[in-house]
Symmetry: C3
Subunit: 274 residues, 3 copies
């Protein structure tokens, strides 16, 4: 384990018993990898079970990035050796589904690039606020010959409708703060200088409310708005392709040649990327 | 019955056989209480059954308010003695569900505060237009330790997506006209000086159309977009808690202490407020 | 067949094997009629089955119009003699449903009026971009005493929520580019001078991506966002009314008197128009 690995962390700060902050500090670029899976899982479990926490804010300590893609350079065994989550889903979509259902309000405070896992974590959070000047959201995977795997095909159309969701996913381009606001990708984009103050004030306000009222209200909203695990699961059918490549492929291909990510094509023909 | 009660009314004006106006004139603050339930029910029944009415506009005669919350100061027996509605739901959600399904176009013209029942009536209406300068929408209930009960957890996410709906409900803050337009809480916000003219012109336009074409089109839109009564009903499981408190509570509590509204916690642990 | 009929065409241009353009050139006003049904069906079949096409752009060669309504002046037999489509739906909704499900990205580039069939084709396309100055979208049918028949009651509320969808359908008014963007009727409105360049660049970008990744991603988005054929079909129950009128009608009527389109009222009381 080199120095940069040892200093990589996901910090949980309890600003008060009811108001937590989770900060990604994974230099150099907040790339999320297999070492981070159990760290985040521990935090998600705390959010689910702590009796006093009411609101948790996710942010970044790294200039220019919120949270980016899954670490394709990590050894595949490090990912494949991780157990399935409590929902029966793969570890990352499992944690995201559990975050959405937790009886706690989650807020993504997005400054810098939120791509791949970063966009998916933001989408699984309850509320999303973006820096107007510095936020970039993207599901870039189709541009690399892959299919996103962390739930965006289920979550994006419910936020912004089919047309804009397909543009985000199939255009695979960078979305800045104001376009993200227009499309409903985030609740609002705010001037960068106001983002932290706005999110802090909202989090402290919610933290002052009754936890049971929060949880009951959220649960009732979820009836109409939350995708089921069964809907998210097919996005991951190709996960074994990610882990066990090269495998027999449709149309005689052994990988997505354009991106050079050979082997990230599943036996069922679905390319999957975090 | 004191003077202010005797002058409180919900006025139904037939501007033409096909174009009706319903005006809340409940001084001092358009607080909706048990005395108003049968008055509104009579109007809803007329809207449902009249063969000529095609469009009905809801507005207010009180400066600064559209329609606000349920009257918590009324005697509980006045509410509990009201019969269930035709849908089997409690009287208020019953009327709102019936309004949404009526073969008539309902338009909320929002000037001033539309909070609690006011927001819920607006959400149950087909179209919503707001004064840019004077409209304030809010579901404030979670801020008082309560859960909204008139359908907003079912209706808000269908209008604006889960993230913005959770912000409205769990942030429990005031939403002005332009933010309401951005979020899709209203169709549009308009300069206050233009609101009445715009709504009148639209209502008269729709009133000139064929009633059967209106009704058939609305019914087909409802397939994709209207929550079922079964989805709205759980928001009201706590209604008996509202009426029959104090009752045994989850976690040993007998009320929502913060708001001082002791007893507004149901046997099933859901705090419910209109 | 007169001269204007012989020069009416729907042009398919293969800009590259993966990037196609379909241009409506049906003078004088891009009115879509029974002669165009088999022409468009042939194109839709090519889009569905070609192994290399990844993106198809729909646009117009006629100044001032994108694509407008169905040709009510054509002989009814020309429409009624057309066979049902592969989905079992009537020919036009059949083609639109198949376009939405094709493993290809469809983009409507809207300059001029997109009304009736034009709006419905745009709504069935995956992405929609509009000229800010020149696009006009409208479902005008209710204003003529008819019910739209090509899927907008299923598709509009999923894009923009129930309230705005009901305004579009029951207000039956013209929607310009910026309002269409605000409502989510289109992905974005762009300055007219930028529309073509923007759409071309996006189409070429998508055409450079992996076809299987595009198709898999689109299919997963469709789970959450695409109406079923069963939901679209009731919009067409009145089709026999369109073709076999005059027929016995509800309420003793034999047509929608206001529009003068006598006979366009079905036996089940639903007036239907393309």
């Amino acid at each position: 384990m080199n120095k940069s690995t040892t200093t990589r962390q996901i910090r949980l700060e309890r600003r008060s018993p009811s108001h937590w902050r989770v900060t990604f500090d994974l230099p150099p670029l907040n790339i999320f990898g297999p070492h981070e899976v159990p760290k985040l899982e521990t935090i998600i479990k705390s959010i689910e079970t702590d009796e006093r926490v009411k609101v948790v804010v996710f942010d970044s300590a790294i200039e220019g990035v919120f949270l980016t893609h899954y670490d394709f350079l990590a050894k595949l065994e490090e990912t494949t050796s991780l157990p399935l989550g409590a929902t029966g889903l793969q570890p990352l979509p499992d944690m995201l589904a559990r975050l959405s259902r937790a009886p706690v309000v989650s807020i993504a405070s997005i400054r810098g690039r939120a791509t791949g896992v970063g966009s998916e974590l933001a989408l699984a959070s309850d509320l999303r606020f973006a820096s107007r000047e510095k936020a970039i959201l993207s599901q870039w995977e189709v541009g690399a010959g892959l299919v996103p795997g962390g739930g965006p095909m289920a979550r994006l159309p419910r936020l912004m409708g089919r047309g804009r969701a397909l543009e985000v996913l199939l255009g695979a381009h960078d979305i800045d703060g104001d376009l993200a606001q227009l499309y409903g990708y985030v609740n609002r984009s705010l001037p960068d200088s106001e983002l932290d103050g706005f999110v802090d004030a909202l989090a402290m306000r919610i933290a002052s409310f009754d936890k049971l009222a929060i949880a009951d209200t959220k649960r009732l909203v979820d009836i109409a708005s939350l995708p089921s695990d069964a809907e998210i699961e097919p996005e991951w059918v190709g996960h074994s392709g990610l882990c066990l490549c090269p495998v027999p492929l449709q149309q005689g291909r052994t990988g997505c040649g354009r991106s050079g990510l050979r082997g990230h094509r599943s036996v069922r023909g679905a390319a999957v990327a975090w």
